[in-house]
């Protein structure tokens, strides 16, 4: 009985720690909002400017996008219509991913993770290249 309990507890501990570790592994390298602000600043979001802008303009708005809760729940069409067609890639090709910095050995993108209803469920800043 005790052995069974120990086994079950070990299994739960292993499961939880593996899930936490794998989550970060699967996600790859990401940046927190504070790190984004420190690296690229905190310019307020102007979607037209983002759509037409180069990487230096896009990266400055990354913080605003990341912290703008009103974008959560918006559908994919809204994102593509307002932010333009995307040039990055994350996990599956239906996630709109916009490259915001493209330098040798350091490519970053802002990713709108969507659900099957094609609505944004999470926004992350992810290192596209290179680990």
């Amino acid at each position: 009985m005790i052995k069974r309990k120990v086994f079950l507890i070990s299994l739960i501990v292993f499961g939880v720690s593996a899930a936490l570790m794998a989550q970060s592994f699967w996600k790859g390298q990401t940046m927190s909002a504070n790190q984004v602000a420190e690296k690229w600043g905190q310019e307020s979001l102007d979607m037209t400017k983002f759509k037409d802008g180069d990487y230096s303009i896009k990266s400055k708005m990354a913080y605003s996008i990341l912290t703008d809760k009103s974008l959560i729940g918006k559908n994919k069409k809204y994102i593509v219509d307002n932010f333009g067609s995307y040039d990055g890639f994350y996990f599956i090709d239906s996630y709109p991913a916009y490259i915001i910095q493209d330098q040798p050995k350091e490519v970053w993108q802002i990713v709108f993770k969507i659900n099957s209803d094609r609505q944004v469920r999470e926004i992350i800043v992810h290192k596209n290249c290179c680990e």
């Binding site: 499961g15 794998a22 593509v80 990055g88 239906s94 991913a97 490259i99 490519v107 659900n115 099957s116």
Partner: protein, 224 residues
């Protein structure tokens, strides 16, 4: 620190294997429970509509179904936990239908997307859209799927993945074309090595076998 760095990849593979197993067990347990509760829901003759949830919550249960009322909102909404799990990852409707009945194949198939992306990121570094790295991912994924599950099932998975209403038609056509190059390669080279696969991809770029809407490495035969 050096030892940790040295075994980092091995550790990552172990973690992924552990997680895949956990997700599989979770998905299977959801499926078993969902199936028992679906039967219970039908046998209880609960009609879907305004009174569905209250009828469901008060319906008679036995030892095997006493937890089913916890799923009443989902049963009434014709949804299930596995659907919810799959939907949150942005899979297409066809993929959800496929994954519901082939949970283990589905998980293995998506583990292969990771493998394909790793190979292509190794070639191109940056993962982008509509360019050579995109063609690479589709080509590799289709070959890896065909190797593991055979052509028929690979085609089902690949087509389900492309059935998205919001993807521009030219992009879908590009993906389908590159998938078909992968499946054709497997058909003619079912026992190919990884080195042969890579060589075929490189040669294919030079001979324009792949569909690439926005080439970035045209001057260098499609390679960086």
């Amino acid at each position: 620190m050096f030892v940790l760095e040295k075994y980092k990849h091995l550790l990552q593979y172990f973690i992924m294997a552990g997680i895949s197993l956990l997700i599989l067990l979770l998905a299977l347990s959801f499926q078993v429970r969902a199936s028992v509760c679906d039967d219970w829901f039908v046998k209880s003759k609960i009609s879907k509509g305004e009174q569905c949830v209250s009828s469901c919550l008060t319906a008679r249960t036995d030892l095997s179904t006493f937890l089913c009322p916890q799923s009443c909102d989902k049963l009434c909404g014709a949804s299930s936990e596995i659907d919810h799990l799959l939907q949150s990852y942005g899979l297409t409707r066809d993929e959800i239908v496929f994954c519901r009945s082939h949970a283990s194949v589905c998980l293995a198939a998506y583990a292969l997307t990771w493998e394909a992306e790793t190979v292509c990121a190794g070639i191109y570094g940056k993962s982008s859209k509509n360019d050579e790295s995109d063609a690479c991912r589709h080509f590799y994924w289709s070959v890896l799927l065909s190797r593991k599950f055979g052509l028929k099932q690979a085609k089902t998975i690949l087509n389900a993945h492309e059935n998205t209403p919001d993807e521009p038609d030219d992009e879908r056509q590009m993906d389908l074309k590159n998938n078909s190059v992968g499946m054709m390669f497997f058909k003619t080279n079912p026992k190919s090595t990884d080195a042969e696969l890579l060589q075929f991809f490189k040669d294919g770029l030079k001979s324009n076998k792949f569909s690439i809407l926005a080439p970035k490495h045209g001057k260098n035969g499609g390679l960086p």
